[in-house]
Structure formats: structure tokens, C-alpha cells
């Protein structure tokens, strides 16, 4: 075998080798993730995604209507002051900049809980569709965090005692059901911590205050 021929052979083998390594790695990656989920979990995933997609479809339709309305206003030479006001009110309530009221629930946590457990309750309420929340009179925004050791919890400089009240606005039966279902967060907390009790009360009207936080970024700027 002459030198150039051997080089061609080597190159060919190296090429094949590379291809196979990539194929093998790809095949191994494809095996992880969704395929290893149980049918039950996959069904939950499908339900979750379907609900969210339906919401998003509603949003797309709303936004399209809004855009059409603006275009129609402009062609008439009118400005959409009313629509801007409605929008502003909605976004400010949603963000926590303004106070809010509506139907909902009161959750009372009795006993010594770690910060993560209180966060779990808030997470559960968000997952159940709570639109606005307050914990011991402090409005819950994206960045509201419960911190501190057991017995010395606090939220945004407000100390939390052995009795913590959380108010949530939303569909009261859905919120109640999410917390009190079999194996739900209330049952989990009461099973894990002996002295802990969770009380959930549906209410016709709940009021939560505006946040004290500025919600104005100093280190980031809007990106077009």
C-alpha cells in the first residue's frame, strides 16, 4: 500500500467514525425526556398544555381585535384613549402596581413552617389560577420571596408569625380544590409537620393591596 492510498483509507475511516459517533450520541439523547414519562404524567402534560394553548388562542383573538380596533379608530381619525385606559388598568392590577378586589379564598397557615413550604403554597395557588395574592398584607409580585428560618419567617421586611394569612383572588372553588384535594399541598404540609394546620375559606370578596416594590428595573432596559 503506498502512502497516499493509506491516507485516503484513514480519511475514509475517520469520516465514518465521526458519523457513527454523532449518530450514537443522537440516539442516546433521543431516548431521554418524554419517552421515559409514565402514561399518567403524559396525560397531565397534555391537559396542561391544552389549557395553556386554549388561553393563548383566546389572547391571540383578543389582541387581534384590539389591533383591528386601533386601525379602525385611526382610519376615523379618532384616538383609542378608552382602550388604552382599560389596558393600563388591567396590566397594573396584574403586575401588582394597583390594589385589587374580587372573589377568592383566605388560606390560614398555623404552626412552624419553613420558608419553602410557604412558597409552595403560593406556587400551588398560582398554578390553580390565582390572579392576585397577598401574604400578611404584602402584595405578592413575581419577586416576592418568603425568607428566614423556621419561627422567624419574613416577607419584604414584614415578619410572619405562627399564623400566616394568605389572600388570593380567583375562582374560589378551583383554588380551594387545588389546595385541599387528596394528596394536595394542605394534606402534605399537615402530614409533614405535626403542629401545622391549613385552613381554607372561600370568600365572595377579597381585597389585596398594591405592592410597595418599585417594579422599575435599574440594571436592565427594555429591548425593542
Amino acid at each position: 500500500m503506498s502512502q497516499p492510498r493509506s491516507q485516503v483509507a484513514l480519511a475514509a475511516v475517520a469520516l465514518l467514525l465521526g458519523l457513527l459517533v454523532v449518530l450514537q450520541l443522537r440516539a442516546q439523547q433521543a431516548g431521554t425526556g418524554l419517552e421515559r414519562q409514565s402514561a399518567q404524567d403524559l396525560t397531565l402534560l397534555v391537559a396542561n398544555l391544552t389549557t395553556r394553548n386554549d388561553q393563548l388562542r383566546g389572547d391571540v383573538a383578543d389582541l387581534q381585535r384590539q389591533l383591528d380596533a386601533i386601525a379602525a379608530d385611526r382610519s376615523r381619525g379618532a384616538t383609542s384613549v378608552e382602550q388604552l385606559r382599560t389596558d393600563l388598568e388591567r396590566v397594573r392590577i396584574w403586575a401588582g402596581i394597583d390594589a385589587a378586589e374580587g372573589p377568592g379564598i383566605r388560606v390560614t397557615l398555623y404552626g412552624g413552617l419553613p420558608a419553602a413550604a410557604v412558597s409552595d403554597v403560593l406556587n400551588e395557588l398560582r398554578n390553580a389560577g390565582a390572579e392576585a395574592m397577598a401574604i400578611e398584607g404584602v402584595r405578592v409580585t413575581a419577586s416576592t420571596t418568603v425568607g428566614g428560618p423556621v419561627g422567624g419567617l419574613s416577607v419584604e421586611n414584614t415578619a410572619l408569625g405562627p399564623r400566616i394569612e394568605i389572600l388570593a383572588i380567583g375562582n374560589a372553588p378551583a383554588l380551594t380544590g387545588a389546595l385541599t384535594r387528596v394528596g394536595g399541598i394542605a394534606a402534605q404540609l399537615q402530614a409533614t409537620y405535626e403542629d401545622v394546620r391549613v385552613e381554607v375559606t372561600p370568600l365572595d370578596a377579597v381585597e389585596v393591596p398594591a405592592t410597595d416594590a418599585a417594579l422599575v428595573p435599574v440594571h436592565g432596559a427594555p429591548r425593542p
Binding site: 502512502q3 483509507a9 484513514l10 475517520a14 467514525l17 457513527l20 459517533v21 450514537q24 440516539a27 433521543a30 418524554l34 419517552e35 414519562q37 403524559l42 396525560t43 402534560l45 398544555l49 389549557t51 395553556r52 394553548n53 393563548l56 388562542r57 383566546g58 391571540v60 389582541l63 389591533l67 386601533i70 388604552l84 393600563l88 388598568e89 396590566v91 396584574w94 403586575a95 401588582g96 402596581i97 394597583d98 385589587a100 378586589e101 374580587g102 419553602a116 406556587n123 398560582r126 398554578n127 390572579e131 409580585t141 413575581a142 416576592t144 420571596t145 418568603v146 425568607g147 375562582n171 417594579l215 422599575v216 428595573p217 435599574v218 440594571h219 436592565g220 432596559a221 427594555p222 429591548r223
Partner: protein, 254 residues
């Protein structure tokens, strides 16, 4: 021994390289062939219809989110164009932009860090729970909370912006953020002061998290400090069906 040594030396290097490559090739061909058969059966059985449904729904969701973002930017542009002369409209538009920034429906760019969390590569002992070796919703919730406490102003996880309504939950092995299905590695991007990482790394909560997850189970945590970090806009609903302004105290909004 000497004869063998002499023989090995006599073989040209390219032949040695070639034979090593061929042996490796043989292994890979065998691995590929063995991996191929069972997987084809496995995937054709398991992928339909539930996995297919998840994949299709997730793809739909991406499209819908892109549509939402596109429509929002077109509305914002139309509002701005309408603003022109009218002072009231201009004031309303400015207030609306500020509210949208506060709500997290506007992308932000600034100083910050990106933390990456990935599943452990440590073999799971037979008596252990495999879930402990994976990054779960609890881990991501903890790091997000530690970032807020360290002074972060905006956070996203794999592109999903953390907003007031964001829930981070486990469904089986997967993590849902804003009802979007995310897969590892999880990249947590945070905008904040330039010492954000120093504050985070010094906080007992983050130290505990690293100790409990990385040191004990091999969860892979890494950090990057790029010159600028982008946190995308929330692409979901900003709709209210139950909450409204309290009747008693009217809005202080302009």
C-alpha cells in the same frame, strides 16, 4: 518479548492508527446496531399517541406565543403612532409601557448572570430515588427565590419569564414553567446589579442549595457572567377574569 517488541516497531504507524480506528468503528457499529432494534420498537409503541400529542401541543404553544408577542409589538407600534400630537394619549402610552415593564411583558437587557442546572451524571444507586439525581421544580424555585433575594430585577428559565402568575411545577420527570414544558439543561437568566453573583454565592440559601444538590447528588450547577443578559418577555395571558380595582379606592393611575 523482544521479538514481539521488534514486530510492533516494524509495523508502520499508519497501520496501527488504522487498526485502532477500525476497532473503534467496530464497537460503534455494534452499539448502533444493538441500539437501533429495540429503540425502534420502543419508540413506535411509546411515542404514540401521548408523546406525539405533547410534542405537537408544545410546538403549537411556541407558535401561539410567537403570535402573541408579534401582535403585542404591532399594537404598541400602532399606539405609539397614534400618540403623535395628543398629550393625553402620549401620557397613557408612557404609563402603559412602564406598567408592562413592571409586569414582565417586555424583554429586558442588562447586566446579570446566567446559571445553568443540569441533571446528575452520577450513576443512581439501586436503593436511591432517581428523582434526587434530576433537576426538579423545587431546585428551580429555590434558585429563582435566591436570585430575587440577591437583588435580581428580572428572571427567566429557559426563556420563560418569571411573572406574578408563574408556577414552577413537576409533572413526572418534567418541569413546567408558565405551563410550558422545559427540558434540561435549565438556564436561569437574571438581570441585576454587577455584584449579583457575589451576593448570591455568599447567601446561606444558595450555599445550602449547592451543598444539598451538587455536592450530594451531582446536580451540575455552573454560572456565566456575559457582558449583557437578555431576559425575554412573558408571552402568556395578562387577562383578569376575577380581579378588578377595589370600588372604594380608585386607581392612582395617571
Amino acid at each position: 518479548m523482544t521479538t514481539l517488541g521488534a514486530r510492533v516497531r516494524a509495523i508502520p504507524t499508519w497501520q496501527l492508527t488504522l487498526s485502532i480506528a477500525l476497532v473503534a468503528l467496530g464497537f460503534l457499529v455494534a452499539a448502533q446496531a444493538r441500539g437501533e432494534g429495540p429503540r425502534v420498537r420502543y419508540t413506535t409503541q411509546e411515542r404514540t399517541p401521548l408523546v406525539e400529542a405533547v410534542v405537537a401541543l408544545q410546538a403549537q404553544q411556541e407558535q401561539l406565543k410567537a403570535q402573541v408577542l408579534d401582535l403585542r409589538s404591532r399594537i404598541a407600534a400602532a399606539d405609539q403612532a397614534a400618540a403623535g400630537s395628543d398629550q393625553e394619549v402620549r401620557a397613557l402610552n408612557d404609563a402603559l409601557l412602564a406598567a408592562r415593564v413592571g409586569a414582565g411583558v417586555v424583554a429586558l437587557e442588562g447586566t446579570g448572570i446566567v446559571l445553568q442546572f443540569d441533571d446528575s451524571q452520577v450513576p443512581v444507586p439501586p436503593d436511591a430515588s432517581a428523582a434526587e439525581y434530576r433537576v426538579g421544580a423545587g431546585d428551580l424555585r429555590s434558585v429563582v427565590e435566591e436570585l430575587w433575594l440577591a437583588g435580581a430585577e428580572a428572571i427567566s428559565v429557559n426563556g420563560e419569564r418569571i411573572v406574578p402568575t408563574t408556577a414552577i411545577i413537576d409533572i413526572g420527570d418534567t418541569v413546567l414553567v408558565n405551563s410550558a414544558y422545559l427540558a434540561p439543561p435549565y438556564q436561569v437568566a437574571a438581570i441585576g446589579p454587577s455584584d449579583l453573583y457575589d451576593v448570591l454565592a455568599a447567601s446561606p440559601g444558595f450555599v445550602d442549595l449547592v451543598r444539598a444538590r451538587a455536592d450530594r447528588f451531582g446536580i451540575r450547577i455552573s454560572v456565566a457572567q456575559p457582558a449583557s443578559v437578555t431576559v425575554p418577555a412573558y408571552a402568556g395571558s395578562v387577562t383578569l377574569r376575577y380581579a378588578r380595582l377595589p370600588a372604594a379606592s380608585p386607581s392612582p393611575a395617571p
